[in-house]
Symmetry: C2
Subunit: 341 residues, 2 copies
């Protein structure tokens, strides 16, 4: 095997099989991956499915630039991103598929590092990479590597979490500080690099969700505010649920480094991406228990109660400003931060 | 919405939501996709799972060039490729996830055409696209569009199909002519374009597999010989199962147009990609019934018995040539045909 990726590594022959056997399989090893068939076959009986259990499916492609950033890389991010999307339906994420699109000339060492990081993240999150695929495109037709993950999890019978469950009076909780991921990645961009010791919040949220649901079993909706940040997540949910949302700007935790960078760049932290933070819509009578359960978890130390669901101004999100005014929090149009995940 | 894809279409804001609502959702519409949550939640009860039922998972990224070719395009191919990988475990494919990586500047009309084609292919194959993701990369960092699909299916209790089931004496069946996909795509490449009325065999094989398994319920292994062709598929299986395979060159159906192109280009048709053809390893006593069931199906009209599994030369594939000799059919190294799927 050479030191760089060649077109032949994606052509279905010996070089591809060697790559799978030598580079992908060892760190990701598990019995499903070892089947080495066109698809992984999973014995559902092992998982004690109960009547009424549901399946959660999700997918995300990752094109983050640069590939390595403070607090993570495209490998760990690709695991966390999909684990989190699956967890947001109240599911226990169990299995991932991984599809790489590699650019000819990519250093083998970079790929190795990404796969190792992916394996560690999967191990920590308690999920298995059960099957994968590799394609190689010619130099100039990619950007080192892109990766897609799809995830499958099991939603226990009786759990119904989603935008349609949101109700007037629901309390809106946020599990941590916002904007850390977006600003940490941006701080590494050519032409933009600035000094900060900020790290991405990229982390698997399934454990946090489990704690939250144990404390607040009637939780209505969960969302991880990635691209477009909290602003996009709340606007989507307000529209989908046909409700209004009001949040207190001062209640939203923002690290000083994120505030400073946002001021410099002209961003609203509420529109910056997160990869290890969630928004929860809980019933008022479970809100205190929910908040405490979040704060007890290492990933929820900075959790706070940021707002409430109202009947008025359906489909809109309003922010109460520190000086007592109210402003509309718009859905970001979208051009701020390309390639953030 | 403009006439081309812009970076903002992948940034998680309003432009992305408009793209999803106006372009992706209408042709692909189904109740799961309509949930518009971070993951699609599937009520397993609707599918009457039985004890012992298994889940099959598969993924494939598609980088085929050009995006449109005789007999298909990247959209239909992305559905067929993953449906087929899932079907090769004996599963009934049910749900797909789709992840697009779009290049800034892609014409919206091209994307529309690909999504429509994907929707038609999914409809024909009887699968639903339940969730998706879109990323946009800057001009010069992609090639129009790449797409990943992951697929989930249910393998009925008691069905165990895979490389490990292959046994000495198994009859090797091939469901159709070989090389049609690879040569049809190559015929469209700049600098290589040649006149042919050949079309790709790209098709969903789940119906064919269902017929086959009804006729030959003890089928040991199925594989769709895509990248690397029949040569790669048989070599992988011979190695995985620790058996030898012998095939009759004259029994392998090859269209004259494929033979002619392969001769011109110096290819062995056995190494050229297929996207709607399968290889089946069946028990000798079920071989005749299996072959008949394939031939009765529109996608198996040209099915033939091409070889047998032997104890000798474990891990190797031998070809009996028309003049009575034997040659080793090697695993292709891999550089022949980049970007064929």
């Amino acid at each position: 095997m050479g030191k760089i990726i060649r077109l032949a590594h994606g052509a279905g022959g010996k070089m591809m099989n060697d790559l799978i056997r030598d580079l992908f399989a060892p760190p990701l090893d598990n019995p499903y991956l070892r089947q080495m068939a066109d698809s992984a076959v999973i014995q559902l009986e092992t998982y004690n499915l109960k009547p009424g259990d549901q399946l959660a499916l999700s997918t995300d492609s990752f094109t983050v630039r640069p590939l390595f950033f403070p607090g993570g890389d495209i490998g760990s991010l690709a695991v966390h991103g999909t684990v989190n999307d699956v967890a947001m339906s109240g599911a226990r994420p169990l299995w991932l598929t991984v599809g790489f699109i590699l650019e000819e000339g990519l250093e083998m060492e970079v790929l190795e590092q990404v796969v190792r990081s992916m394996a560690e993240a999967a191990h920590t999150a308690g999920v298995q990479v059960v099957t994968g695929d590799t394609k190689v495109v010619e130099r100039g037709h990619g950007d080192g590597l892109y990766v897609n993950t799809a995830g499958v999890g099991i939603v226990p019978a009786g759990v119904t979490i989603g935008p349609q469950q949101i109700q007037r009076g629901d309390v809106v909780l946020l599990s941590g500080t916002i904007g850390d991921h977006g600003i940490a990645v941006l701080s590494q961009r050519e032409g933009l690099a600035f000094e900060t010791d900020l790290v991405s919040d990229s982390a698997p949220l399934n454990g946090l969700v489990e704690s939250l649901l144990a404390a607040a079993p009637h939780t209505h909706c969960l969302r991880d505010p990635t691209r477009g940040g909290v602003a996009a997540a709340l606007n989507e949910l307000a529209e989908a649920a046909g409700v209004g949302i009001e949040i207190e700007e001062t209640a939203v935790p923002v690290r000083p480094a994120v505030s400073a960078a946002c001021e410099m760049l002209g961003f609203d932290p509420l529109t910056v991406a997160n990869e290890g933070t969630l928004v929860a819509f809980v019933e008022p009578q479970e809100a205190e228990a929910a908040l405490e359960s979040l704060r007890r978890h290492p990933l929820g130390k900075n959790a706070s109660r940021i707002g409430v669901v109202v009947e008025e101004h359906a489909g809109m999100v309003l922010v109460r400003t520190p000086i007592g005014g109210r402003r509309i929090l718009d859905m970001p149009l979208g051009e701020l931060l390309p390639r953030i995940c």
